[in-house]
């Protein structure tokens, strides 16, 4: 059973370097085992037509008979080995293998749950789903995670099992919880927290501040006014965000307000930080599907990691 106080982190592993950089960040967030980690690999269910009517499981079983592991399990075990190397996990942890039958797929869902005596939990989960996107969203829904970390592969890095950029974007747009999109996530450059003029942006800033506090990351507040007329509003919102964060017991290193195009300014200023943090405030329900917000444009164009907070 999951402990109420434990923070839940879902890390989507696909074998890409971006996903492992996300895992390293998750370890930092779960310092001293204050968070449970789930490493998830989603395998789309085989439709059969592309393998000529022969179930792909036949080939997979053959691989297993020769002692080869499935690609997803290889990727997950590399993640587990990294956790051991980083000292986040030890060989003495209890191991429990769980298999769940899935209708229509012989291999089903498989997971290995590691627990230590203090109740900290790390799960390696290989899930089968109609699509990678559906699998990740289902897991977010079922597992009640506090944050999801997903790697953003370059288009030319996509390979078997790798999460496609379109899938990452779909998960971000539909996830009910914050999603950190990792692109070669460097750890020590702080959270570049962008706030717009809504109350929800301030709420989101406080939420991100709590996440930043978990990994001892410095917080840099930032806002952009599109015109000089809006400058006082931007200054006000940054001041309110700072006050709210400090009231919650955390510190802000700096706050900055500039005038210009929000997307361009955020991309220009945000590239030197570990994370650009955006509040997804403009979009809800139908609008989220049909409206391009600043947050999604930044997510699309940024070269470093981006976190969308709701």
């Amino acid at each position: 059973m999951k402990s109420e106080k434990q923070f839940q982190i879902l890390v989507c592993i696909d074998g890409s370097e971006a996903s492992y950089s996300g895992l390293r960040y998750a370890v930092r967030m779960g310092d001293d085992h204050s968070a449970d980690l789930t490493l998830l690999f989603v395998r789309p269910v085989d439709e059969g037509l592309s393998s000529g009517g022969l179930q792909l499981e036949i080939a997979r079983e053959n691989m297993l008979n020769w002692g080869h592991e499935l690609p997803g399990m290889r990727a997950l075990k590399r993640g587990r080995d990294m956790l051991v190397e980083m000292g986040f996990m030890e060989d003495s942890w209890k191991e429990q293998v769980v298999h769940t039958d899935v209708r229509g797929d012989q291999l089903g869902d498989n997971s290995i749950v590691y627990t230590n005596e203090e109740g900290a939990k790390i799960t390696l989960e290989m899930m089968v789903s109609p699509s990678v996107e559906r699998g990740i969203l289902d897991e977010i829904e079922i597992g009640e995670y506090d944050i999801t970390i997903i790697g953003m592969c370059a288009e030319d890095e996509t390979g078997s099992g790798k999460i496609r950029p379109a899938t990452t974007k779909a998960v971000v747009s539909q996830s009910p919880t914050p999603v950190l999109v990792a692109r070669d996530l460097e750890q020590d450059h702080g959270h570049f927290m962008c706030v717009d003029f809504t109350d929800k942006a301030i709420e989101a800033a406080v939420k991100d501040a709590k996440i930043a506090a978990r990994c001892h990351c410095p917080i840099y507040l930032y806002s952009v006014a599109e015109t000089d007329d809006e400058l006082p509003i931007a200054l006000d919102v940054v001041a309110r965000a700072r006050a709210a964060i400090e009231a919650a017991g955390m510190q802000v290193v700096s706050d900055t307000v500039e005038v210009g195009n929000p997307v361009e300014k955020i991309l220009e200023q945000g590239r030197k930080y570990s994370l650009i943090v955006m509040a997804d405030t403009s979009v809800k329900g139908f609008r989220r599907f049909f409206q391009t917000s600043v947050a999604y444009e930044v997510l699309e164009r940024a070269e470093n990691s981006v976190m969308i907070v709701r």
């Binding site: 439709e47 022969l54 691989m63 020769w66 009640e144 996509t158 919880t177 914050p178």
Partner: protein
Amino acid sequence: MRASLRLPGHPVLRSIMLFLREKRWLLFAIVVGVVFYLAPPPEGLSRDAQLVLVISVVAVILFMTEPIPLPAVAFMIIIAQVLLLGRDVAEVGASLMNGSVFFIIGSLMLAVAVVKQKLDKRLAYLIVRLSGTKTRNIAIGISVVSGLLASVIGEHTVAAMMLPVALTLITLTSDDPKKVRNLAAVLLFSIAYGSSIAGIGTPSGGARNAIMIGYWKEFFYDPTDPNTAKYLVDYVKWVMVSYPVFLAQLPFVIIILFSTFNPEYKHLTRAVVKLRAQIELEGPMKPSHFMAIGLFFLTLVGWVFFSNTIGLGTIALIGGVAFMVFGLVRWEDLNSGVNWGVVWLYAAAISLGIQMKDSGAAMWLADSFLTILPDFMETGTPLLASVSILTTFVTNTMSNGAAVAVLGPITLNLAHSTGSSELVVGFVTAISSAFAYLTVIGTPACTIVYASGYLKTTDFLKVGYKMVIMSTIILLVFAALYWPMIGL
């Protein structure tokens, strides 16, 4: 705290939006279908043929985009034939079960039965004994063995058996995938392309071949006219036409692979020694292995000598049943190893193909295609080149069997309209459907080796276009020079 993080959107609304997003291609297909249905029939197209085209267009969109399970598409085709075309249920039912579908069922059962015998280690032993330890020779050995086997038992069977052989050689060379990227590409593509080019070698090499044989018989054979007997293509005739095309491509596969991916290791001595040690632990071949090989050989003999009288499909079914009778495979294994939805899909696609021909839709499409072609491309090698290019394009977007089922009626009518040989155009269509080297889903062998996790989707493009050019040139050269020599 957790509750406070769960903000946006009502769960029901989120579910609806997720559903709409996942099914957007289904909605698109329905909209396209409704527009085509409501539009007046173009000149020269009957209302019945227009309705067949509506079903075909919707089905092709669903084949390519897969927003719903493909067996559901198969059943939609069947339902649409009854509801939209007003066909009798018994007539539709009869069109679903023919010799081609029997062959597909039987050959898939044989494929599972053969894979379950675990003869892969014997094959690995054969390859490393013959090829030694040089990477180039091992790749040649893998592609030759894969090709020879795939030409008779289907590329998916061979790919499933050979995949662990290649993976073992790769992992015994290095545990780090980055250090063996090119080696993995060469060995895995040797399996995939070695098998893919071989699938055209004999009728039993793939469902597409049986589908084309079925179309020739269905469309052009008239038992009362002896002149149409040439449309009954038997096993030997197919082999005479197609096997040399496969053999001619084989050396080029290795040349293309080594010029595209330069393996990091020129010798695999350490891996081969370890692999031999692993294989030797297996001990001598068991009686069940000999029995399985014998049964398969007898099935092959049946195809060669009796396919003209009782049909390829019946023999394939006899082979599959024999494996069960002798206790070499359990029905449960066959039931779980064969994707029966795919059988339904092929059956429905073939049935629709027959409707396209009977309604005149295929002829209308063929004539429309001809109006696009410049005059000089309407006969001879230019026409064959255009058929080959069209088929290559379609087969790279869907399975090759489905591509032949969809395109066959059109290209065969194209041949009829231009006065070209329906046999030649049919062979070009069936053989070109194997040129699906560009995508992961193009051929079963490509899909299976991709499942290993060692290849990127871009690898298929990087090497695939060279394979397409090579295969197309060889096919057209054979069509122009060799086929006339054997009276085709």
